[in-house]
Symmetry: C2
Subunit: 363 residues, 2 copies
């Protein structure tokens, strides 16, 4: 292997893939990145066996070849170098990297030991708008569970319903759902939320389209010069749609920033009570108020102007409400609920593809 | 106690003092801040018994009084509030804080239990330029030891020598010294580096002057509306001046940024060897090169153009060299050494008040 590549392109590619390389893994080679010539490109790849990311960069290839090197050292080394053309040459499993100022040797491990994810043969392929897809993931990924006890809840669920592609995630305390667009085919697969989070970091502002291919085992996302392959989560996703109330006794419309601010201040007083805050909507006074009581430290009531239909109160975990309000980008939100025991909904007239549900706490 | 104060001023003051309040302390009241009326001002204070910080803010006082409240909650609460005038009223050791939108009650503890640092009676007082003093602390504080095994080395040493005020700190591996200016009196006291670091955060860009008062036990720094009092460290500071070489066999002048960059890249390969890098200056080729060897991972040689007088090599801890180079702000630095066993010096023609010494590693 002998090639030339710009420091900027190589650094960007290693930064993209290296986050899935993991030094704490029991299989040492998983902490390495794979460098491999591919026609007039250099491919840089890393994997944790569940997720594999590959980026291609343009490169002047003089001799073909491949090698794996420690991801962390390679990443920090290349990103520390000044902008320049790097000469890279492999000899005896040692990677020699040079430019005018720097001469480095990084000890490698043969690429034959590097695990490759199985290819996706057949399966269905569809394209989707990169901007919409990124926005959808941003609004739902955080609602997935981080607890491996129920693996299906650690995924983002892509499915089709009534001709729409829908992405959803839930940790059983809250649920986020986004309608991605129309489809004629039937979809049903579960992507690890960690892979979706990696994908979020990969999709750039200039990316136009994402190509998605999946079979029963794996999904592949192609964005620009990057390919992310993830093993799908097996299992049946809960039938969450029956949880979503259709009618609401109380609907409150208010400034999202106001709602966020009064929730944040109240959450400071809710630490002793696992985040518990009580939200009260009053039609007569035209406001929404949040009360939090910290038995040791004190208590707080915060109010904001709101357009209230109906009225009543409900107790929520302030962290879930803060997460949900941060997920919207609209100026106003609607907060809808039916008494103290039924799920609440957050929605926005200007973000009609998105819906966020929060289960109440018993108060 | 009954008063009005702006959210902005109160938040700034609590942020300034609250960092010395410590929830992990065995004495619970030390995690509180003291609020106390003082003529037409409100004083906000916190202490960890070694350091006390007090800030005064203008306030409309309707009734005098004092109380202590949990620092962390108070800090987060006030900084979360929107800009507004806050009404603060004390009743039964409960602090009621209100504005149009928020009504809060924070449970307090009587101010009688709050420890007060003894007053500095007599002692000597001098004034110094705030900008120069801040620059001096920035360049030396980090060289003090964090290890309590030798308490004197955890301090910043202020002393007079040949009519100059000198501030110095060392952890015995490196030494930083700054000549603050002229004095006619004799000075000799040792300020905890943690207090100096707090002071660094307190001195603002608009502050003109610092008033320093000290006796045998304590030192008081007055900057604008803030007073920091620290207990002095007892003990004799080592006679470090005899360690500083007067003549150098090798003097290298080069771009500080170049030197920093090649040191940083080399340090990545020096992790296995406790930061050990070997610096070689060569007059004939007109460059300085740094070599680092990581037996497992590989090795690196990095070079930069330099004006070399003499020549030779020395082995240093890369972390100390990075710290030192970051402490300078000049475009060029001089790196001076005498073979492999004697201390090295970093200095700059445009920062003549500052000197940094690093002990070599045995190679």
């Amino acid at each position: 292997m002998k090639l030339q590549v710009t420091q900027e392109n190589l650094s960007k590619a290693i930064n993209t893939v290296a986050r899935v390389a993991n030094t704490r893994n029991t299989l040492p080679i998983l902490s390495n990145v794979l460098l491999k010539t591919d026609n007039n490109r250099l491919s840089i790849a890393a994997t944790n066996l569940d997720i594999a990311i590959t980026q291609f960069v343009g490169s002047k290839i003089e001799e073909t070849g491949s090698i794996t090197v420690p991801a962390r050292l390679m990443q920090e080394f290349v990103s520390s170098l000044p902008e320049s053309v790097l000469k890279i040459e492999l000899a005896d499993n040692k990677l020699h990297i040079t430019n005018d100022q720097y001469k480095s040797t990084i000890n490698g491990t043969s690429s034959e030991e590097f695990p490759v994810m199985p290819a996706i043969t057949g399966g269905s392929t569809w394209n989707t708008d990169a901007t919409v897809f990124k926005k959808a993931l941003q609004q739902i990924v955080f609602a997935a569970s981080a607890d491996d006890a129920r693996p299906v809840l650690t995924g983002v669920y892509f499915h089709s319903s009534d001709g729409s592609i829908i992405a959803a995630s839930t940790d059983s305390y809250r649920l986020a759902e986004y309608k991605l667009g129309k489809t004629k085919t039937s979809l049903n697969f579960l992507v690890p939320a960690t892979a979706a989070a990696d994908l979020l970091r990969i999709i750039g502002d200039s990316d136009k389209e994402i190509k998605i291919t999946h079979d029963d085992q794996q999904v592949r996302f192609e964005v620009g010069d990057v390919i992310l392959v993830a093993r799908l989560i097996e299992g049946n996703y809960p039938d969450y749609r029956k949880l979503i109330p259709v009618k609401f006794a109380t609907t409150v419309r208010l400034s999202r920033t106001d709602f966020l601010n009064i929730t944040k201040v109240s959450s400071l007083f809710a630490r002793e009570s696992a985040g518990s805050i009580t939200i009260k909507a009053d039609k007569a006074s035209g406001d929404i108020s949040i009360n939090a009581i910290a038995s040791q430290l004190g208590e707080n009531t915060a109010t904001a102007k709101a357009e209230v239909n109906g009225g009543g109160e409900v107790t929520l975990n302030s962290r879930y409400l803060i997460d949900a309000l941060n997920a919207f980008s609209s100026a106003e939100v609607e907060f809808c609920f039916n008494g103290k025991l039924e799920p609440c909904i957050l929605r926005s007239q200007s973000e009609q593809n998105y819906m966020h549900l929060i289960m109440p706490l018993r108060s």
